[in-house]
Amino acid sequence: MELLTELFPPANFTLLGFILLLPLLGAFVNGIFGKRLGREGVTLLGLSVIFAAFVGAIITYAMLIEHGHDGAAPKFHFMAWNWLELQGAGNGMTFRAVPLDVAFSVDALSGTMVLVITGIGFLIHLYSSSYMAEDPGFYRFFAYLNLFIFSMLVLVLGDSLPVLFVGWEGVGLCSYLLIGFWFNDDANASAGKKAFITNRIGDFGLLVAMGLLLYYVGALDWDGINAGKNSLLQPVKIWPVGDEVPIARFLPGGLADVINAPRFVNAATLVCLALFLGAMGKSAQFGLHVWLPDAMAGPTPVSALIHAATMVTAGVYLVCRLSGVFVLSPMAMAIVAGIGAFTALFAATIALVQNDIKKVLAYSTLSQLGYMFLGAGVGAFEAGFFHVLTHACFKACLFLGAGSVIHAMHARIHDTETSQDMRNMGGLYKFMPATALTFLAAWAAIAGVPGTSGFFSKDEILLMALTSRVTGPATISGGQYGMVVENFVWPEWYSYVLYGMGFLTAVLTAFYMSRLVIGIFFGEFRGWKIVEGWIDPHAAHAGAGHDTHAALAAHDAHGSADPSHAGHADHGHDDAHEAHAHPHEAPGVDNMDGPRPHESPWQMTLPLWILGALSVVAGLLNAHLIHIAPLGHLLEPIFAGASKRVEVSELAHSFEWMGAALAVFGACAPGVAVAYWMYVKQGGAPARELAVKFRGVYSFLQDKWRIDEFYAETVIGALDALADMCVWFDKYIVDGILARLSAFLVQLTGSLLRQFQTGRVQAYAAMTVLGTLIFGLYFAMPHAEVHEVFDDSSGSYKLSAAPGLGYKYRWDIDGESGWDRGDKFGNQTEVAFQLKPEEQRTVRLEVEGPFLVTSSYERVLSRPRGEMAAVEPAAAEPQRLKVRPARKAPPIMPGTQVPAGHPTLPNSPSAAPHGAAKGTH
C-alpha cells in the first residue's frame, strides 16, 4: 500500500490517467484497425483494456479506503493539462479569473461509480463478444463500447463541470452511435437521433447552470463550488422581466398590481432547476423520457450497459455530486423528488401492459430512475446513490438475461418484434436454466424480496421519502444572511404523497416484473412446436440461428409495418438471404415448427451468474436496516455538508422495521401474488377481461400515455411549421426575389440594350454623334470662371474672366447693387479695382453663353490688415458666416452652374487670405 501511495500520490494520481486512457486506446485501435485485427483480436483488445481499467479502479478504491480511515473524505487529484482561463467571471463578490483545467479527481462517490462502470462494463463486453459474434459490425461495436466507457469515466472522474460536460456529451454521442448501430433500418437511426436530441435539450439546462454558477459562485470545479456555494443564496427577481408587464397598463389597478408584483427566487433554485433539466434529459425523467423506450432498438448489451447501468445514472450522479448546492434550494429539491416519484409511477403503469420484454425492462428502468431521484430529492443522497448501484446490478442482469432469451428465440423467429414478444415465449425455464435462475435472482431484487439488494435500497428510499425533508437556509426567515431568500417551506403533506406514490410504484413493480418472469419462463412454450432435431431448411447460409437484425429485414414482418424495410439492399452478407423467402409464418404452436430453444454460451451466462449473485448480496453494502453499511460509511463524509440541511424526522428510527414489513407484505407480496394468480392460476384470462372492460385506459397505457404523440403535435409540429415557413421564404423570397427577380431584371436590361446592337455601322455612328452632342452641351453651357490677382501692397484686385465661345459678360464690382454698365452683356473680360484696408466688396459676374443661358459667379473679396498672416481657411469659414455684416451673399439661383471654386462648396481652393472675415482683428 505504501508502494502504491508512493507511485500514485493523492495530489497527482496518475492512475486516473491510465484508467481513462486505456479504454480510449481500445476504442481508437478497434475503430481504425478493427477490420484487420479480426474478431479475436478485437475481442481481446476490447476486453483487456476494460479489465485493466477495472483493476485500476479496484486499486483506486482500495487506496481510497485506506486513506479514509480518519473520517475525512479522501480525494485524489490528477491534473492533465491547463485548458483555458476565463478572464474574469462572477459578479461583484466573486469576480475573478476562472481557470478551466482538464483535471480529474476521485473520491468515494466517483470511485464507486468507476467500479460499477468498469466492472459491469467488463461483463457486458464479455457478453457482447458472444452476442454480437455474427454481426459484421463487430469491431465497430467494440470501438463504440470502449469509447462509451471512456466517456462515462470522464464524466464521473471529472473534477469540474466542464470536464463532466465533455463526458456528458461523449456518452450522449456513444448512445446515439450504439442505439443506431444497425443504422440501415430507419427506425433504429431515428431512435438514435431521438435519444441524442432529447439529451441535447437537457444539456441546455446544464450549460445554463454552468453560466449561472460562473456568475454567482465564480468557479466550476467541485472544490470551488463547494467553497463558494453560499453565494448562491441571493434573491433573483424573475418576474417581471424589466420593470413592468406591458399589458398591465390596460388592466384595472388591483389586477395590475398583482401582475406586476415582483417575484423572487433563490439563485440556488435557478441553478438547481437548470442542473435538474440536464439530469432529466440524461436520466430520462418524465418529459424528456421519450427516448429511452425507443432506445431499445439498439442491441441488448447496449441497453444493458447504457440504459440500465451507467449512462442513465449520470443524472443521479450529478445531483449527488452537487448535493451541497442542491440542498440550498428546498424548492428545487421538492421538484426533483416530485418529478422522480411521478416518473416512477407513470412508467410503472405503462410497463403493466407492454408485451415486448425489452420495453417492459425499459419502463422498469424509467421507474427505478424515478426512485433514485426521489431518494436524492428528499435529501437521502446516500440512499439514492445506493439504489444506483443495486439497480446497475439487477437491471444489467435482467437485460442480459433478456438478451439471452432473445438469442434463443432467434433460432427460429428472425423478426425483431416478434422474437421479443412475451406472448411467443413461455416455459423457457426447462430449456435455459442458467438464464432463468439468474433472471429470477434479479427479479427478486427488483421486486423487493427481503434480503436482496433491491429490497434494502428501495426500502431505504421509501423510508426516507416519508421521513426526510430538505430544510435549507432559505426557509428560515432571517436566515444566515439576515433575509428571507425564498418563501418556500417543505409542506408536511408532501412526504406522505411521495411515500404513497413510491409505495404504489413498488406494488406495480412487483406485479409487472412477476408477470414478465411468468410470461417468459413459466407455463408452456408458445413460440413454436418443438421438433427434436429440426433443421432450418434455409440454414445453408451463414450463421443460421443468429442472424443479425439487419439481415432479418429481408424476411420480414409479422406486425411490422415499417415501410423502410422494403428498401434494403445493402446488408453485408445478405444476398443469399434475400434469394430465398421465408414463408410468412405467424409464430405459434400450431403454425411453426422449430428446434429446442438452447442455452447461451459461457460468455453470456458467466456475466449473468456474476450479476445475479451481486443482485442478491450487494444489499449488504448499505443495509441500514440491519446496520451493516460499509458503503454508507464510506459515502458519509461526502454528503456530510449536504446533510446539514436535511432534516430526518424521528419517525425514521421508529418506523424502520415497520416500513420494511410494509414494503414486503404490503407491496412485494401482494404484487407477486396477484401476478401469480392472474397468470399462472387463471392463465391470463382476468388480464384479457380487464383489457376489454377498460379499453380506454388500456389503450392509453399501452400508448405510453400518448406523450410522443403530444410532442409530435405540439413541439415537433411547431418546428415543422417553422421549417415550412422557412422553405416558403427560401423558395419565393430568396429564390424569387434575389435570384429570379435579379435575373429577370438583368435579362430585361439586356434585351433592351440588345436593340442597340444592330450590326450596322450607321447606327453606331449615329450614337457616336449623339454622344458628341451631349458632350458638346457642356461646352455650350457657359462657365463663369474668374481668375483673381491680388496685389498686397496696393490692395488692388485684377479679375479676368475665362474666355469661351460666344461668351458675353457683365460685371458688378463697384460695390453698389446693380450691374456696372447696365443690364447689357458686353465683351469685357478683365476688370480691376482697389480696396482700402479692411474693406470688403462683393463681386459678381454673369456670363451669357450662345444659347442665352447664363451662369454667375460671386465672391466676397477683402483686404486684410497688414500684419495678419494667412489665416487658416477652415477657421475662417465659420467665422465669416458669423461675423459678416448684414449683406449676405444672395443665394445661388437654381439652374445656374456653380463653378468649382465657389466658396459655398466644401473644398474651396482659394480660401486663404482672400475671402476671410475676421472676428479677431
Binding site: A763, V769, T772, L773, A780, L805, G806, P850, F851
Partner: protein
Amino acid sequence: MTPGLVLFAVCSLLCLGGAVVTVASVNPIRGALGLLTTIVGIAGLFLRLNAEFLATMQILVYAGAVVILFVFVVMLLGPTASLPRDAGRRSLYARAISGGLGAGVAVLLFALLSSSKSHDFPIVGKDHGTVEAVGRQIFQEALVPFELATVLLIVAALGAIAVARANPSKTVKKPSENPTLRLFHGPLLARDAGHPLDGRTLEERHEGNSEQRAS
C-alpha cells in the same frame, strides 16, 4: 467686293453644292462628280488662304487619284453600284433621326460661332504656304510622321490588294502553284472577261456560258 471675296463666294458655293450633290444623288457617278466639285472648291479656298502647295496637292491627290479611284470602282460595279431608293418606314425613321442629329450639330456650331468675336486674318509674308515653308516643316519637325506616312501608304497599298483579292477556289489554283503569281493572273478564258466580279464561282460561270452557247 474684292476679288478675294468673289473667289470665296464662288468656291463656297462650289463646295456646298458639290457636297449636297454627293450626299443626295442616287447615281454614284454623280456623287463622285459632286465630290470632285467640292474638292476643286476647297482647292480654290486653299489658294485664297495662301496655301498654294496644299491646293496643288489637293488637286493632284484628291481630284486626281481619290475621285478617279471612286469612279473606277463605280464603273467596276456597274449597274449594281446604285441602290433603288426605297420609301420604307424604317429608312424614313433613320433619315429623320440622322437628319435631326446632324441638324443639332449644325445648330450648335452655328450658335457658338455666331456670337463670338471676329478674328481677322493677319498679313503674311510671301513665303507663307509655299513649298519651301511646308517642306521645311515636314522635314524638320514632322519628319517621323512623314516616314510613317510613307509606311502607311505602302501598307495601304498592300492591304488593298490583299482585301480585294478574288476568293480562292480550286480551279483557279491550276494555272500556277505559286499563290503570289496567281495575283497577276486575270480570268483564264476570254469568256470570263465579260463578268469579272460576280459572286459566282468558276463552275457557275461556265455553266452560264455553256447555257448561252447551247441556246
